[in-house]
Every structure is written in structure tokens, then in C-alpha cells.
Subunit: 237 residues, 2 copies
């Protein structure tokens, strides 16, 4: 159960690796300002993201069968556009805007930090994003993953235990040979309860200047780091 047993780092992605809020605001503006709409685009991003957990919760509780995140994002977008009285988008326009989640920028330290960490560890995504979303985002943002795991492959949305258990099993590793890396206390607490090691990385700007949740590590995680460079240093990379 020692830290030296860790072979794989499994990453939360939205917020931990990529800056979804600024990227979605940029993409929404790019798609919709050209059609004459003027909104607070960061608020638009926040309102889209606010529908994320409730949509997954329906799947988690068995209220509906498995639906991948791209499809949940699209349903949420259609509702958000209606609520915002934004009309006149073709199906293809909506698809393009929905795939804004495939075009998220890494935080400034993400690529360098991951590249250093990759020398010593298997780097796996353990995100609620589906495989195509993660693959396209990695191509866009230059994220050097070794393997795309997480919700779609495990058929379970975090923090369901199966999301962690099946990801470790696919790597043929014991849970304690995996370290969950996330900017969210809840994700790490769930991973720890399945036997994973844990690393908290601060992402104070995830929700813009007014972030009130997950500002700091609220538990005694194995590693607490300021960013991925600091994580690499603390893990001896």
C-alpha cells in the first residue's frame, strides 16, 4: 500500500486537466455571437455545466439506461438554448457546438506536467467523458494519455464504485497501484474508498474568480499539489 507501488495515475479531466469554463465560453461565443446573440458566455458555460450532474444522476440511479456524455451534453444544450431563447441553429450547428467539449484547452501546466509524469507512470483518463470526447480532446490539447478509461468503458459514472474498480481491473492493477488525480474532493474520497491512492491538485480558477467549492483539499490525501508540475516533483518525476 506504499506510494512506491503506484504504477498508474488515473485522471479526472474536466477542471483538473482542462479549463472547461473559459473554453466553453469561447466556443459558445464563436458559434452564437456570429448569429447575432449576445450573452454572458461564461454564465452560459456555467448553466450548461450545471445540468451535468443531474443528467448523469438519472443514469446512475437507473432512471434510464446507459447514455454517453456526448449525448447528455447535447440534450442539456438543446434545453439550454430553448431556455435562453436562442433559435435558428441547424442540427449540424448544434452538433458542432456540442462538440465544444472536445475542444477544451489544458491548464498552462497540463501538457508539460503530464509529459513529465508519463516517464514514470501509466497515464489514464478516468473521466465521465466518453471515449471519443477524450480522444478528440487529447488531439486538440496535446494531452499524452497512454490509455482512455473511465465512464464509457466502465459503463458507470463517477462516483459510482464500478467506475474506479473497472478502470483498475482493465489495467490489471490492484486499486492501491493506482492514484486518482483530481481537483475535486468528492472524486478523491470515492476513489479512496475503492482503495486508490489519491492526489489533490488545486485548480482555483475552474469556476472563474468566484470558486467556492473544492478550493482546497478537505481530506488527508496522499499528495496535495499546486499544479501538475508540482505533482511531478512530489512524485519524483
Amino acid at each position: 500500500m506504499a506510494l512506491s507501488d503506484v504504477k498508474a495515475l488515473t485522471f479526472d479531466v474536466f477542471g483538473t486537466v482542462v479549463n472547461w469554463r473559459d473554453s466553453i465560453a469561447r466556443e459558445a461565443k464563436s458559434s452564437l455571437a456570429a448569429k447575432g446573440y449576445d450573452e454572458d458566455w461564461h454564465a452560459f458555460a456555467d448553466r450548461w455545466r450545471a445540468r451535468y450532474q443531474p443528467a448523469m444522476e438519472e443514469v446512475r440511479t437507473g432512471g434510464r439506461p446507459w447514455v454517453k456524455l456526448d449525448d447528455l451534453h447535447r440534450e442539456n444544450l438543446v434545453e439550454l438554448l430553448r431556455e435562453s431563447e436562442i433559435a435558428g441553429l441547424s442540427e449540424s450547428d448544434i452538433d458542432h457546438l456540442n462538440r465544444a467539449w472536445h475542444r477544451l484547452d489544458g491548464w498552462p501546466d497540463s501538457v508539460e506536467g503530464l509529459t513529465r509524469l508519463k516517464r514514470k507512470f501509466i497515464l489514464a483518463t478516468l473521466s465521465n467523458g466518453n471515449v471519443a470526447l477524450m480522444v478528440n480532446m487529447a488531439k486538440y490539447a496535446g494531452l499524452p494519455w497512454d490509455v482512455i478509461l473511465g465512464a464509457e468503458v466502465a459503463h458507470a459514472y463517477k462516483p459510482q464504485p464500478e467506475a474506479y474498480d473497472r478502470s483498475a481491473a482493465l489495467l490489471d492493477l490492484r486499486p492501491d497501484q493506482c492514484m486518482m488525480v483530481a481537483a475535486h474532493n468528492g472524486d478523491l474520497v470515492a476513489a479512496r474508498s475503492r482503495g486508490f491512492h489519491t492526489a489533490f491538485v488545486s485548480r482555483p480558477l475552474e469556476h472563474g474568480p468566484g470558486k467556492t467549492r473544492d478550493v482546497k483539499a478537505e481530506h488527508d490525501f496522499d499528495v496535495i499539489a499546486d499544479d501538475f508540475i508540482d505533482l511531478a516533483v512530489k512524485l519524483g518525476c
Copy 2:
């Protein structure tokens, strides 16, 4: 259906990307010669590999539930050791030798060719090897995959249609946006029947000097290449 629509290259791995025969012979010798056994190690590799298709066939036909390739390899190894009257290995020795399949060398052009192809395409494994096997092999041989797909994720062994269909679906691509790359005619014929584009790459030494099957492309595949550098050139990379 044009070649220019191809977004992802999906790779057969054993024989196409890595030289399993020489690598397994080296690993078997390394494990067993030290214990005083003297064999034709290439013949040992061939005999281990000969049990590969029959073992998967039991799963394909529903004769037994899903078993990942690492476990089939291990069962086959235990039988082969018994047949070869090789005894005295601990469970841990057998595990180490079984994971020889995680330590296969790429062909001389594999890393350079894949690195060039990766600039333009998503590179996915579509192998019968399980996820951990593919991930560990990629770390060992420096193979720059974007995503590990194939049998374990699809829960189907090639050439079952589901192995191809589910891999394309996970990438959220139409089959004709994928190109199967393999040194084996049968794999390409199966992929083509599911709508994939196809590229045959010659690997004349896969079975040593005496290769008699898959010496050349036997069908009118979209691309026929001498190696991965030639494939990169022919695909404009």
C-alpha cells in the same frame, strides 16, 4: 466513402506492429535457459502462438464466457510447459513468462511510422490483446497510441463483427472513417465487411524465414504498403 474521410487508423498489433516471434523466443530463453532447459526457442514461440486461435475460438463460439487474452495465454503456457516437460516454475515465474507478451519489440519502422501517422490520424489499437497487455507493451516498445480499443473493450475477439463495430462506435466514427491496418488478409477482409477502409502492410518475417501465409495482399485493399514508413507516405503523412 473516400479515403480522405478516414479519421482513425485501427491497428492489428501482434505481427503487424510488433515482432512477437523473436521477442517471445528471447523472453522464453531468458526465463527458462537459466533453469537449465535447452529448447529451440523459436519453435517454443510458434507452439505457444499455435494455441492462440483455438483458445479464442472457444470464447467466440460461446463455449465459455469472456476470458481476456492474458488469461488464455497463461492457460496455453501451462499446457505448453507440461507438454515440453518443463517443470519447477513458481506461479510468479509463470506469470512473468506469460507477461512476455507485454514485452514485445516493434518492427524497426514501427515507432517512426506510427509517429508520422499520428500527426494526421487517431491511432487506435484494434487487437485481440487485452487493455493491460496493450498498455504495457506500448510503454515497453514506445508505441504512441491515442487510444486502446479492441477485443477486451468490445468483448469480442476478431474477426467477430462486434470487435470492429464497437471500436468504431467508441470513436463515434462511421466505419468508413476508420482504416484497419494489418499484415493479415483475414483481419482486413473481416474489417472491410463491416465497412472499414483497409491497409495491408507486409511483414514477411512474422513467422521467421518460412512464412507461407499472408505473404502478400490477396485482395484489392485500399492501400498496400511495405512497412509503416511506406504507409505514412501513401497516406500523405
